[in-house]
């Protein structure tokens, strides 16, 4: 069970945000690991600052983030499984974050791979829509 905050953000905000994470954001991540970054491009902010401390490389600013998306979509194909294990999140005003683990089976440069990423993402609400603004991800070995 995820803890419920009593004073921050409205419950409707939190419900709406989680629904977005589990639907649009999930679909965009699934698409990316099938080699299509287009949905992720839509869900990411087009306003600075944006940043990625990625499992593969860092990207600062809109141009480098776009280059990272292109690099990733060319690398990934044939995703057979993608799930996001949400561990912590909050929504406060027009900013939100998620922290959790991404369990991914996809092909990396044509070779099937299964890996788990620890992922932190930060979101801004822009014109009423949630947009990702920061991602930090790294690989983690399964717990011993």
């Amino acid at each position: 069970m995820l803890p419920v905050q009593e004073h921050t953000g409205g419950m409707i905000d939190r419900d709406d945000f989680l629904a977005w994470v589990k639907s649009e954001l999930y679909e965009a991540e699934l698409a990316l690991h099938n080699g299509n970054a287009a949905p992720r491009r839509v869900l990411w902010s087009h306003q600075e600052p944006v940043s990625i401390l990625g499992a593969g490389r860092n990207a600062y600013g809109l141009q480098e983030v776009e280059e990272a998306f292109t690099w990733l979509e060319q690398m990934f194909s044939d995703c057979t499984s993608y799930s996001f294990e949400l561990q912590a999140y909050d929504v406060v005003g027009d900013m939100a974050y998620t922290a959790g683990m991404e369990h991914i089976s996809t092909s990396v440069n044509g070779e099937p791979r299964t890996f788990t990423l620890r992922a932190t993402q930060v979101y801004r609400r822009e014109d009423g829509q949630w947009k990702a603004a920061h991602r930090h991800a790294d690989t983690v070995s399964p717990a011993a």
């Binding site: 940043s51 900013m95 922290a99 890996f115 920061h134 790294d138 070995s141």
Partner: protein, 140 residues
């Protein structure tokens, strides 16, 4: 306390952490049920009891260390939630060794205003400093 003061206190706290003392850092973390910590290696931990225990065991691995420099990369700040990206340059004796090791951490820190004080509600740190395949498993 202002956000700037808390950040400054945390930078002092990680110096203490590198010497093996987790207490100043623990003062800055949120003690709520949704606090989370993704230290290098291993899955993230959630909840104050687990985060506190993880800080204790992480600090116990360090001795005679300090954070020699901190590069601020970018930040996202609102009235009640703030995210900072930094590279921390550490040096410390690690895991009981006698030799000082140098290492850099990429860090995402998320602070939340809790009552009238800012608290660190999430820290994600990893030692990736060079580009690598996204499925590369971290090796020490």
């Amino acid at each position: 306390m202002q956000l700037d003061e808390v950040i400054s206190r945390f930078h002092q706290a990680i110096n203490e952490f590198a010497k093996g003392n987790p207490e100043p850092a623990k003062d800055i973390f949120s003690h709520r049920a949704d606090v989370s910590l993704a230290n290098p290696w291993g899955p993230p931990v959630v909840g104050w009891e687990r985060v506190s225990a993880a800080l204790d065991s992480a600090a116990a691995r360090f001795k005679d260390g300090r954070v020699t420099a901190l590069d601020a990369l970018t930040k996202h700040v609102t009235t009640d939630l703030a995210c900072f990206l930094d590279i921390e340059h550490w040096q410390a004796k690690v895991g009981g060794g006698d030799k000082i090791s140098l290492f850099d951490l990429r860090v995402t820190s998320i602070y939340r205003l809790e009552g009238d004080a800012w608290a660190l509600v999430h820290r994600h740190a990893d030692p990736i400093t060079t580009p690598q395949a996204p499925d590369a498993v971290l090796r020490k």
